[in-house]
Symmetry: C2
DNA sequence: ACAGTTTCCCGTAAATGC
DNA sequence: TGCATTTACGGGAAACTG
């Protein structure tokens, strides 16, 4: 999520007449000590007022919350500055642009006795633009308000600030501006939240979430509670859904935009459903799904194998962002190999679910193109590629496990995994003996 | 290279008596807008003076160069501040510590008519500490000078600043302090430079450079000129030796400290010498050498192969820092495999030059330990490793080429490589036909 | 002691200046 | 215009602070 650095106040409103402002009701995000610019536009397009209107930005003017919410932070601009509204060249309106502005915190937070206490990314601030208008004995005050602003001091707060943005935006389509929204934040219906989440993927990856993906998310986030409501604290808290989804959004943005846009990634599918879907398909059918445990975004592929009348579904250890920096997912899929002790190697991945040949689905994304593959020597050096290899997993697939957010906890999750490993060891002791996988390639010329 | 952030002025000298200062003659590096601290210590250990000495740091006081060298930058401290010398708790000396200081550039460079023009990392500045001493009618001025200071504004200048530091330090062991050193910088003898370079490796990797390594560097840097002198402009310029060596230092620091410290890396060996050394050894003998073309530090391995009475020496495409972040060099060596069309795979690397088995030399650094390799499934996921693979390079090794810095130029170098490829293609057309290296693994279950 | 919050600063990219 | 130098700021980590 890149920071919004351009704050545009579209309206300068005549005092006491809060007309206009057909603004989208979205809060903005500003980082202290980072430059931004604001443009104020006088919507009444009257060049007559030229040179008569002096505008000045004021932070949190008349904001009640600043004096009632305990610990509410105070900020100020780097400089006190007035600007005269001038004619905008293209369309002739009156504008003033404040450039090179930044925000710094003023010492002395409000230490009221109020019981409400907000996290910094739950504080909603306002930038007001005030202007005096004096002409021919007439005198009146003009005021225009920016959208609500969330002020952060570090990029590590973008995550939770963005959660606030989404929550506020969704609720503000129905309610009027409420800067105390997070003092007692209303829940969202799943219908509302799912739409917002889908938009995030649309915005980052040019494709929203489909019914199946949303259904999986609904199971994880809402569970089978009595109602369809998602509560703010549950959504935004450390182990909540948002941190996980945001990690995936970032993963998509950095490494999977094309694949996601073209619908190659099923992504949000439970293990259980993966099993159900794949076991009916032919050997070599695989699908891509996001890790449900990795908080930083990770993706794995699962594939099905029918041998000797048995059906196995396997899933590879999820790939993380640093790993995908080394090799893109299509190449990984293209090169992935299984290795048995007998040294027979092969790629178990053949058809992207439901039945599209992997080269048809992903061929256009391969970086290791056949062309460059013909060059075995470059600049006198022997070329090389990394081949992702697993040792042949003949044990059956792990039993599916569901991890609803409602009760999710990393420690518990780890324990489940341990039990699972133990179970596997009991069922298939042969596969857990002392192995030699890292040495079992035939030694060269031996 | 991490920035030196602690500037310690050990001496406060009575005016006109530049005694003491058994300081190492090393310039320091300071970055504008980055905090540092200075401690001034009054070496005459007399607590009698307590509360009588007020010290104040002044930047470039009385520095002639600031007024004679064209474009010389001016700086000032973030605040004017005097401090009273106080008793230092442990040893009873008089000290004042200036913390939270930083430097910012003052507008208005000196635009003298002098013909000398220095790069910013060639400017040598001074911080002086001045004190007035008044007692019983007596009055005198005390002054102490810091070591020379190189002021940079970005970490991208550390590279060339460090070159200046080395040059200055080497020359200052014989000459007195000379802030105009780089106006007409004297050359260093190879003897001097080689010692400095060896120190860099000692400092970064706990092991200096041996005779063979220095001989190779001498060939590259001095060539076979009439004398042993290395000139500043040649050393520090963009295509000079330092940028290349610094890239290697950084590579060692980030990914190869252990290997370097234990002497596993021959590193500075020419291609020609690599050929000579390896062709006498048994098949599977390899050595590690740094890339001579990659400016950001890269390492490759060369190995020898005797088959059918022919001897071939091959070198793998060099590994860069980002690649080594994904897998450490010992693991790469341990897992490296050659692949022929017949699907026979194997690791051609067996003995670290001269004849140490690779597991003996590198085994302790393997991250993919046999223990973890026994686990084929983790948390229900199939484990995986990346195996670095090359397609069998049957053509003979590339003809050795020497790249002396004296005439080195990247463009030319690239052309040489192109010619080399063309040559290889003419000699061994079979190996440049349409290949299938990325698909030639047997397809799973086909 | 600790968690939420801010500062610090490297390293890269972009902007600026000459 | 190109190169030298500075600024900008994301991101990770340390420092702060109640």
């Amino acid at each position: 999520l890149s920071l919004l650095r351009k704050l545009v106040a579209n309206a300068l409103v005549v005092a006491k007449q809060p007309a206009m402002s057909s603004l989208q009701q979205r809060p903005l995000m500003l980082k202290t000590r980072v430059r931004f610019s604001v443009t104020v536009r006088f919507l009444a397009n009257l060049p007559v007022f030229k040179d008569l209107l002096k505008v000045k930005p004021v932070f949190d003017k008349d904001v009640q919350e600043a004096k009632t919410i305990k610990g509410f932070r105070h900020f100020e601009f780097n400089r006190e500055e007035c600007k005269v509204l001038d004619v905008d060249t293209p369309d002739g309106g009156l504008v003033a642009e404040f450039g090179h502005m930044f925000l710094k915190e003023k010492r002395g937070r409000y230490k009221g006795s109020s019981e409400t206490r907000l996290g910094v990314t739950e504080e909603l601030h306002i930038i007001k633009f005030v202007a005096e208008f004096k002409h021919a004995g007439l005198e009146c005050n003009l005021e225009a308000s920016s959208l609500p602003v969330i002020v952060i001091s570090s990029t590590n707060q973008v995550l939770s600030a963005w959660a606030s943005v989404m929550w506020y935006n969704t609720l503000s389509t129905s309610e009027p501006r409420n800067l105390s929204l997070f003092a007692d934040p209303p829940p969202l219906t799943w219908q509302q939240l799912s739409q917002v989440l889908s938009w995030q993927f649309l915005s980052v990856g040019k494709r929203g979430l489909d019914e199946d993906q949303l259904a999986m998310l609904r199971d994880k986030i809402v569970g089978d509670g009595p109602d369809d409501l998602v509560h703010w604290s549950k959504f935004s808290k450390n182990e909540g859904a948002w941190i996980w989804i945001d990690g995936i959004l970032d993963l998509v943005k950095k490494h999977l935009v094309d694949l996601w846009r073209d619908g190659c990634i099923m992504g949000f599918v439970s293990r259980k459903r993966t099993l159900t879907l794949l076991q009916e398909k032919q050997t070599g059918t695989f699908l891509l799904r996001f890790s449900e445990t990795n908080k930083d975004g990770a993706i794995t592929f699962s594939w099905v194998e029918h041998t000797n009348g048995e059906t196995h579904v396997h899933a590879v250890q999820p790939y993380t962002k640093p790993e995908l920096s080394g090799m893109c997912l299509p190449d990984i899929i293209n090169l992935y190999s299984l290795k048995a002790e007998t040294n027979v190697t092969g790629n178990p991945l053949r058809y992207l679910y439901p039945d599209i040949h992997k080269d048809t689905a992903l061929g256009r994304y391969y970086k290791n193109s056949p062309l460059s593959a013909t060059q075995k020597i470059i600049d006198g050096y022997v070329k090389r590629t990394n081949i992702p290899v697993s040792t042949f997993p003949t044990p059956p697939p792990s039993p599916p496990r569901e991890i609803p957010f409602t009760d999710m906890d990393m420690d518990m999750d780890t324990e489940i995994s341990m039990d699972l490993d133990q179970l596997l060891q009991e069922l298939y002791p042969d596969f857990f003996g002392p192995g030699t996988s890292s040495q079992s390639f035939a030694d060269y010329s031996s």
